[in-house]
């Protein structure tokens, strides 16, 4: 087993699948010789050549639209969008076509493509390089949305996404691309789409999160443990489809639930989780379900990004609130 970072796990997953299945192609801006601006496709161009690792013209709508059609023709495109904020020009192709082609043709045409991109703040980046747009995709029927938080899941979930028969939006937490390494098996393996993971067990509070925020929750949970509060942390891993059973099982046990995400609060995915939890578990709840999130503002330029981003302090405040309710 090798020790890989998240971004290395992305590359490893692509490599495994490209080797196994000649219909897998990678395309995007600067993914070839340059290996992607985060080096997520580093070395693939040398290994697989320009017909399978394709530098495209600068057009996100183009990348996704062309990928849809390539997928219909039996290829397995893995499209890279360079940054979260540049998925916006591709929304029309994703929403109007990728998400609906199966339904519109009653299953005659399908487009099993993967659109992957780095997302989220915390790296002192320029404007439009810090977005957490998961809600838009989750809100669009027909798309699956996957967000790993560690290298092992990254590889297994990306391979599962490539093999999935439906379009998958695969969001990579760039803030922790290189923050730590995990043991990652060399062979291809799959982490099932639609399964959350309990990453820390506890009986007092359930913290629910995804992407880079999972680590912030774990830090807050460690601090709480010192005060004797036992916190369970759930990494949702796939937002669509979402594993509500795992969430319900935990909240039924703890009776307290906090959702943590970087995206703005209003209609963030936390809102959906809160709604589901109270629909199902009202009488088990010992406190209101809370959210610790980004604010309903544009993501600020980097001087203020730490004021905007949720972190252990804000999470601990919410935990204190549910404990004393």
């Amino acid at each position: 087993m090798a020790k890989l970072s998240i971004v290395e796990a992305v590359k490893d997953a692509l490599d495994c699948e490209m080797e196994r299945d000649s219909s897998v192609v990678v395309l995007g801006e600067d993914v070839g010789l340059n290996g992607g601006v985060f080096r997520a496709t580093d070395g693939l161009f040398a290994k697989y050549g320009d017909r399978r690792v394709i530098d495209t013209p600068l057009s996100e709508s183009g990348i996704v639209g062309v990928s849809i059609a390539m997928a219909v023709q039996g290829l397995k495109p893995v499209a890279e969008i360079q940054f979260d904020g540049f998925t916006y020009p591709a929304m029309d192709q994703l929403f109007s076509h990728a998400a609906r082609l199966r339904n519109r043709t009653r299953g005659r045409y399908t487009c099993p493509l993967v659109v992957r991109f780095p997302y989220g703040g915390g790296i002192r980046a320029l404007e439009h390089h810090n977005e957490s747009p998961e809600t838009y995709f989750v809100h669009t029927p027909g798309l699956k949305v996957v967000i790993p938080s560690n290298p092992y899941d990254t590889k297994g979930l990306l391979i599962a996404s490539i093999r999935d028969p439906d379009p998958v939006v695969f969001m990579e937490p760039k803030r922790i691309y290189r923050s730590f390494r995990d043991e990652v098996p060399e062979n291809a393996y799959v982490v099932e789409i639609g399964k959350a993971k309990v990453v820390r067990e506890g009986t007092d509070i359930t913290l629910i999160s995804w992407g880079a925020m999972v680590r912030e929750c774990l830090k807050a949970a460690d601090d709480a443990a010192v005060q004797g509060v036992k916190v369970e942390v759930i990494d949702v891993r796939t937002l669509s489809p979402c594993d509500y059973d795992a969430i319900f099982a935990s909240v039924q046990k703890t009776g307290r639930c906090i959702v943590v995400h970087e995206a703005p609060r209003t209609l963030g995915f936390g809102a959906e989780i809160c709604a589901r939890v109270q629909e199902k578990l009202l009488l088990y709840l010992k406190a209101p379900v809370l959210r610790v999130t980004g604010y309903d503002t544009p993501f600020p330029y980097f001087k203020l990004e730490n004021e905007y981003l949720p972190g252990p302090d804000k999470i601990k405040k919410a935990m204190a609130q549910v404990m004393k309710f």
Partner: protein, 359 residues
Amino acid sequence: MQKDIASFRVKYVQILDEKGNVDKKLEPELSDQELRDLYRWMVIERVFDNTALALQREGRIGTYAQSLGEEAVHVGSVFAASDDDWIFPDYREHVAFLMRKVPVKNLLLHWGGSEEGMDLPERSNIFPVCIPVGTQTLHGAGTAIAFKLKKKKFCSLTFVGDASTSTGDFNEGLNFAGTFMAPAVFIIRNNQWAISVPRVCDKPDWGGCQSRAQTLAQKAIAFGFDGVQVDGNDVLAVYSVVKEALEKARKGKGPTLVECFSYRLPPHTTADDPTRYRDPEIVKAWLKKEPLARFKLYLQKKKLWDEKFESAVQAEAKRMVDQGVKEAEDFKPKPTDMFDFVYEKLTPNLSEQRKEWLS
């Protein structure tokens, strides 16, 4: 029956060659003061650029996009415009802001991660830095259409990179401008690279490049107006062609696309490593064609440049930039500004979140 029903030409304009020789027939009528001003602004941009790069290396600002080698494109075009014409930059035309009296401080605040940097002085008539490439083309077109509706004799001047011409918005912007005969001039800064993707397609049967069109200027033809290619390292050519395009636009004769042919000497941004994808020898060859050296030779021949002038210009640029650095570094952003500028009036929702932040 068959016959040719359309044909087109694309002009290339160079006035100053690499050795500073001038094409007398095309030499623009500019006063000595104006010629020296062109030089001054190019020096100011270069001094700003070097300073910003140094600040980035010391972690005092964030990721930065250098303008080195493109000064003639930026200075020549903005110099040709009147102060009432509106400018739509992307992220590399630093001097365009300075020429519109935006203080150095603002640029450094912007690149240093504070929104205050793009709180632009009144009547600077320039849009903020635009990062989603190509999108500003529609703003250039729309501004020109608005000027036309309001019967104003103003134009818009929009800058895009060569790779940005591949976006939908670029093409839509040109089409709007063309259909409405809008007083818009579009400048392509063709520095021949996206990040690592070259402008030109060198494989006969596959992509990996930006466009198979012979020139980018000819894209205008498809939208019903003229495209011109100029030597982007020749400030006189850029100035003259843009000036003419603006005059044409002001007379109601519609838009023009000006492709400035240059080369990106530095990395794409400070986050980029060009040794991964391009040959440093080619960069060296282009360095010899850079715009300042050539214009200096021209001024020298006209007896408008000497060491004394040079040191005065350098000193002025340094003063201006150093003062900007100091002012920018004294600035502390106010966290509550995060909430206070989203709408004209704070909404109840944001007011609550603002309180939450303060508690």
